[in-house]
């Protein structure tokens, strides 16, 4: 009985870990958007420089 309880608890913990990683992965989209900032800076500098 206690072994089953332990396994159940372990399963819940692993599901939480998986849900956590899935949520964490959503941040990657935001990081992608943030990474466009230096790109925008290069383009802006180039355009301003030519104007």
């Amino acid at each position: 009985m206690s072994q089953q309880h332990g396994e159940r608890r372990e399963l819940v913990q692993q599901q939480r870990e998986l849900d956590g990683d899935r949520r964490r992965e959503r941040i990657v989209f935001l990081l992608g958007v943030l990474s466009l900032i230096p790109v925008a800076a290069i383009i802006l500098v180039r355009v301003v420089f030519f104007v």
């Binding site: 372990e10 399963l11 692993q14 599901q15 870990e17 998986l18 990683d21 899935r22 964490r24 992965e25 959503r26 941040i27 990657v28 989209f29 935001l30 990081l31 992608g32 958007v33 943030l34 990474s35 466009l36 900032i37 230096p38 790109v39 800076a41 290069i42 383009i43 500098v45 180039r46 420089f49």
Partner: protein, 495 residues
């Protein structure tokens, strides 16, 4: 149009094509990184579930006494059911204390570590692996097989973060993020750390999105039993790239390969350019062999797998043919200059601005994906393309900058100096590989110990890998001797 004018036009068009081919690697890399953020929504987590199969771990070992003890200790401390994990160390006729180390650990953890000894070794990693795989397949206990290197350190949750993907029966294999983990850092290990963040946390996420993985990491690949059996119960022994062949075969047979970015394992990486060159030459020669073997797979879309997709083929050949593209770009630019074409300068500037955008986006995203690398390797992030290329990029973005700076200093830039700079910049596209080779060639000398790190910062890390790829063409064309030239590991992995 006179014959001379026609010849000039044809030459200009050909040279322009050369120059545009030089942009292929940059454009392919930029596209690959633009796909990475989509991994937030297109990933395998929806089909993953808690799953802890019986895992047999295979460690091929040849003179690994210095690193095996800690690696085995960390495996035994994994947050994974004790009765579902067995480790098989295949000792390839080691002449150091490897057998003693493994036997001592086997005694410390009875029934959990097996020592398999090959008395006549030296055939290479893949043959050694096959001995372990055959042993693991002897009974029905094993449900999943983890192939790792002797020096790789597995943190507690790393294995179960891999196994959860095998809950989906469509998945044949899963690979982890192998991060650089040397305790004693130097400029080269910091470059490698950055490269791994780019090539794994970035590129492999993009490959997950596009449904085709180029290579399972040799130090961290988990296979379902069904996958290993379907592959014939063995890994390829005919190439240097058994990992890549396994990855391709798995996908060609219709099973999925997944990269798991949150399963992070640590490995010790080369500290010298020569050691890095030897390691990467083995990998690059393997890629030449794999490209030849699967030449009928690329650019042939299939419903069974993603390896034939245009995007995957573009990424593969952008790296595989990068030295060729660089040489063509230099040839094209220098040729246009000698023809007196005004196009050369404009195309060159556009090329470098695209390169700057690619570097800025890819490097920023990579260090955001692994903040530890960003903190440790900030110098290498700035100088990843090399100081010379950074200067060329700045001049490309600000065309009048040199004249302005010279004016401030009261100098005059004569047309001859200007032409010299332009020709050098055109030459540098390909010439940087020569300087990368020079960094390797002088490393062992007294002056090299000081100059090599400076040269690497000057040349950049990418050109070293390009020069190695070029070397791999030569070695494969000459059918140079192939042997298992293992990277020295002395047990300095952190965590």
């Amino acid at each position: 149009m006179s014959p001379a004018e026609t010849a000039l036009l044809v030459a200009t068009v050909i040279l322009m094509v050369f120059v545009f081919l030089g942009a292929v690697p940059v454009l392919a890399t930029l596209f690959q990184f633009l796909v990475v953020p989509l991994h937030a929504f297109i990933n395998h987590y929806k089909k993953a579930a808690p799953y802890e199969p019986n895992v047999a771990v295979i460690i091929p070992a040849w003179n690994e006494a210095a690193v095996l003890g800690p690696a085995l200790d960390r495996l035994m401390a994994l947050d994974y059911p004790v009765d579902r994990l067995r480790v098989i160390v295949v000792d390839d006729a080691s002449t150091d204390a490897t057998p003693e180390v493994v036997l001592a650990k086997a005694a410390e953890f009875p029934g959990r570590i097996v020592h398999l000894r090959r008395e006549h070794g030296g055939q290479g990693k893949s043959h050694t692996l096959n001995v372990g795989i055959a042993h693991a397949l002897e009974d029905d206990w094993m449900q999943a097989l983890l192939i790792m290197d002797a020096d790789v350190i597995y943190p507690p949750t790393s294995l179960r973060r891999l196994t959860r993907h095998l809950a989906d029966p469509e998945v044949g294999a899963v690979t982890a993020y192998v991060a650089e983990g040397s305790i004693r850092q130097n400029y080269l290990t910091r470059f490698v750390a950055l490269e791994y963040a780019i090539a794994q946390l970035g590129a492999r996420r993009a490959q997950n999105v596009l449904g085709a993985i180029a290579c399972l990491a040799g130090g961290a690949q988990l296979h379902s039993r069904e996958n290993i059996v379907a592959l014939g119960g063995r890994v390829d022994t005919s190439t240097f790239a058994e990992d890549t062949v396994t990855t391709f075969e798995t996908q060609l047979q219709g099973r999925r390969v997944v990269f798991e970015p949150y399963s992070v394992v640590l490995a010790e990486e080369p500290e010298t350019v020569n050691a890095l060159w030897r390691q990467r030459l083995r990998w690059a020669r393997g890629n030449v062999q794999v490209t030849g073997r699967y030449r009928n797979v690329f650019f042939r879309p299939s419903r069974e797998h993603g390896l034939g997709g245009f995007a995957f083929g573009s990424f593969w050949f952008a790296i595989f043919l990068q030295p060729v593209f660089m040489i063509l770009a230099s040839t094209g630019l220098i040729g246009l200059w000698f023809l007196g074409s005004p196009l050369a300068a404009e195309v060159f500037r556009t090329l470098w601005i695209i390169a700057a955008i690619g570097y800025a986006f890819g490097l920023t995203l990579s260090v955001l994906l692994d903040g530890r690398v960003g903190r440790r390797s900030w110098r290498e992030v700035v100088l990843f393309p090399g100081l010379v290329s950074v200067v060329i990029i700045i001049v490309a973005i600000f065309p009048g900058l040199m004249q302005w700076l010279a004016g401030l200093a009261g100098w005059t830039i004569t047309p001859e100096i200007s032409a010299g700079f332009v020709l050098f910049a055109y030459f540098w596209q390909a010439g940087c590989m020569l300087f990368a080779w020079l960094a390797k060639a002088i490393e062992g000398t007294g002056v090299g110990r000081v100059l090599t790190p400076l040269l690497v910062y000057l040349v950049g890390y990418g050109p070293i890998l390009c020069a190695v790829t070029f070397d791999s063409y030569v070695k494969e064309a000459r059918r140079a001797e192939s042997r298992w030239d293992k990277t020295e590991k002395i047990g300095r992995v952190t965590a």
